[in-house]
Symmetry: C2
Subunit: 266 residues, 2 copies
């Protein structure tokens, strides 16, 4: 407690320091949440020094753009870069003694196995840079190659989220796949709905009450019980007239047909 | 103003009386909203007298199960039955002088043309019987075969919703089609996500923060700009691994492929 790190807090009997590797959406939200929890972030790395500076200045860190400059005595190195870049980052990093964890949904923990202590620190949410999030509500899925490493990740996780849970690779992959359906594909259906409305001079906003109610209904009564619509009641007249207006061969037509079929099969 | 209808309010200089024909989700929510607005509902019709009684008792109306018993002097008859039953109801109704309107998304107004005054009174929302809704927020789309009829429907609409708008058949159909994408299909994707999680021993609830954020993001920043995920960044590695875990030939596999393709094309 020499006062060197004035903003750190005591976790597990010592001061925690976390280096952030990356400056994208997830790195930004994580760094800000950690800084709000008064965890000390000595460095932010980005290949682009301007991006490193931008995020570093928001969390009181030193910006670096060369992994050779990485501090060697941090407790945790959070790698939050594009999936395809993780391996390259790992190879360029010095062999640090601290824990190294990545935040990716779809990358195995073993990519980090050249380090002694490693794991996964996966925040399960869709991140947008400009949009503030209540991190406390975000499920954080943890994996580690040892009990102490898991304990350290859990300490960090608990400081920013109320929903920390141990996980494993197959659960994380299943969760990510489910998220593609419930988030990415859902958002794309909103985009298609918007295009269909635009063709008739209507604005997306008219869907807002319906979209909010659909979401709340699914969350409060379970989606299977909340299903409604022409396919659910096997109303072939309405479905035929919808398909007619969508025009055969278009992707909207195929999506309408396939999703209706899937609803009817259930 | 003879005091015969103690609960009515003055709309356009006279007391409004509305007969509800139907006892399903939409009929129930409409009748309750109208009753809350202190509009007098003399009768509720249902083919099933028990259903008629159930709803009638909640709005102070007389339950009937024979259209021959329909009151002849109501101002408005709201037909809120299954699409396929509208024509039969219309044929069995006496030739009333008041306005006759249906609440269906996909049925043309002309089905009501044996009456002198007719129209459409379409509340754009997904209804569940047990779930209370804030009707003020629900868009109400109106069509009528004459100005005075439209005026009457607008008076009634304004008494229960802040979002009343004149519409036409093609707009109503476009809106319903968009709703199938943004509500029915979205809910089905939630169902599929739930099944994928269940296979790995995970609960649907873990998706709640993600689903809420996806919805709010789409509504606040427009869905096209809010798109994220493997298909959006053309991450073929992740997509291939997801498809592998879904197994070729399953409907989930086809949906994953088709929606990813549609996202990539945009």
């Amino acid at each position: 407690m020499d006062g060197k790190y004035p903003f750190t807090i005591l976790l597990n009997d010592y001061f925690m320091t976390i280096v952030i590797i990356g400056s994208g959406n997830v790195a930004t939200h994580l760094a800000l949440a950690l800084a709000r929890a008064e965890i000390y972030i000595p460095q932010v790395f980005s290949r682009n020094i301007l991006h490193a500076k931008q995020l570093a200045s928001r969390v009181g860190a030193e910006p670096i753009d060369n992994l050779k400059d990485l501090s060697l005595d941090a407790d945790l190195y959070l790698i939050s870069v594009a999936d395809a870049s993780i391996e390259e980052v790992v190879q360029k990093m010095p062999l640090v003694k601290g824990v190294v964890a990545h935040t990716a949904a779809s990358v195995g923990m073993s990519v980090l196995s050249r380090f002694s202590h490693f794991g996964v620190f996966y925040p399960f949410q869709t991140f947008t840079k400009e949009k503030t999030l209540n991190f406390k509500e975000i499920p954080l899925l943890l994996e580690a190659n040892g009990d102490n490493t898991l304990k350290l990740l859990k300490s960090v996780g608990d400081s920013i989220s109320d929903k920390v849970q141990e996980s494993n690779e197959s659960k994380r992959m299943a969760l990510h796949l489910a998220a593609v359906f419930a988030c990415n594909f859902v958002n794309h259906l909103y985009t298609l709905a918007d295009e269909l409305l635009a063709d008739s001079g209507l604005k997306f906003e008219i869907l807002a009450p319906l979209i909010r109610e659909t979401t709340e209904k699914a969350l409060s009564m379970h989606p299977k019980l909340a299903q409604t619509g022409p396919a659910h009641r096997a109303d072939t007249n309405v479905m035929a007239s919808h398909l007619k207006s969508l025009k055969e061969g278009t992707v909207e037509y195929k999506i309408y047909q396939l999703l209706s079929q899937s609803i009817m099969e259930r």
